[in-house]
Symmetry: C2
Subunit: 322 residues, 2 copies
Amino acid sequence: MSSTPLGEFSLIARYFNRAATDGNGVDLAVGDDAALLSLGANEQLVVSTDTMVAGSHFLAEADPRLVGHKALASNLSDIIAMGATPRWVSLALTLPQIDEAWLAGFCDGFFALAKAYKVDLVGGDTTKGPLAITITIHGTIPRGKAWLRSGANVGDTLYIAAPLGESQAGLDFILDNSLVSEQRDALIERHFCTYPRQDLLLPLRDKVSAALDISDGLIADLGHILRASHVGASIDVDRLPLTERLLAHCDHNWQKAVTMALTSGEEYTLCFTSSAALDCAALNIFPIGVITEDTAVVLTAQGEPLDWQLTGFEHFGDSCGS
Amino acid sequence: MSSTPLGEFSLIARYFNRAATDGNGVDLAVGDDAALLSLGANEQLVVSTDTMVAGSHFLAEADPRLVGHKALASNLSDIIAMGATPRWVSLALTLPQIDEAWLAGFCDGFFALAKAYKVDLVGGDTTKGPLAITITIHGTIPRGKAWLRSGANVGDTLYIAAPLGESQAGLDFILDNSLVSEQRDALIERHFCTYPRQDLLLPLRDKVSAALDISDGLIADLGHILRASHVGASIDVDRLPLTERLLAHCDHNWQKAVTMALTSGEEYTLCFTSSAALDCAALNIFPIGVITEDTAVVLTAQGEPLDWQLTGFEHFGDSCGS
């Protein structure tokens, strides 16, 4: 087999991005957090699929309860990032053999989160093979109300819906057993256990101009909004919320903590833009910058541009370490 | 890890079959060919997920064009077996590395069939890991018109929508390179390339009492209809259509060919029951038996019962060879 380095996104664009059949109700296909499909006159169906492979997205020896939580959380986040209400999931589970303790743990994590978000498992497939989990999730939204990546306007405020960085900090411990810290277990749990911001759907319904799910890191994911909206952004890194735990993990090295917040993947929370005056304290959201005309991301601190070099993460391609 | 032999179906029942949330629009969840979900007042959404793992469902060295066809065909068949029109698919592709020749071949097979069935790819995920394909397919159907497994009535005629057995014959060649036959290549192609009977949706709309997709073998799959409908069936093996190619493959051993037709998996065609007078020649369908009160499957030939021992196929459990 020949291997050519291609990013995940160019792979999707080259092979899978085809024109939809006329009249088949495809309002938006490949290219956002989820597809938008027409059924009734007043409602759209929102569909997203994610795969987690053991060894690549989690270690086979990871706590199955945490794996079950993360598998569902990453999918809930895609639907919520479209502004839609998660409704139904299908689960395709590939297992090397039946391990009832693993299955019981996985189901504990999966169904506890499903219950909390009022999402029902409506089908799936169990197969024998290398451990992997594919979830397809379905949400619904009033027609025309979806938060797309393409709606950001110059002057909009840029927000994130949670402090970032702890997912990467947790991953550091997962990947290096020799790391020692009082916060090890809490950060590993934090890596797996995110709670996508379903509570923001109603208050932000008509106030978001563009949104997406932070899965590959803020800088990498923000790039999708900027390209789709033909705009740029300026991020004031002084306004990035940094948790005490993240700062402690980074030995109180501020630049290291900020860099981790800007690039940490699998955060499964919202990045969005809005021109509305939002009550950040009441909504527990964080304004971190502004949308600009200049089609680039500029980082500033104390009003001065920074020249840090940051890169995102792609599953295939030069920047892929695994 | 401990391993306990459990059939795929008991695995699903034990861990994944939970009561749906009230008011969440789940009309039918786990347990048929697909889930039935409510959106509009007049239409239902039909959703099914299937995984194919290299080494278990196909060999990694199989022609990628045939793999792409089979992956989609098996999912189309689930939706058609519900009486629904296939509309949209999501594709989760896990690849050990990017192989452009493999991807191009896979897409050729996948999209040729998608185009023929007017189905659109609306999303998916590409990940790095052991070669596997998970497809989630969506269909739509007028409310209340779905063909369930639970509607068979005593006296209904039992039909199949294609001659069976050649999928298994093709698999024999795939699994044993030393087998030699003029029909080797054609039967291997036949194993991968099934064309689910979408043409039957309209003529059979209100005439089917129960239906399912033949994926694990006629006898094993028919069992699901019989259990769900609390009935039995008598199959007249003299009426099973046997192709010349299958008979030649079985050295014209009639019992061997019939057994292969009754147990061949991955046929991806319909098995259904009906009380209507159907024009079998015009519809290209085959009446092979009758639904009985007795909750068992009886095989007869020339009016006499046969005592053949046949078993179905399950991915996990005692009968699973792979």
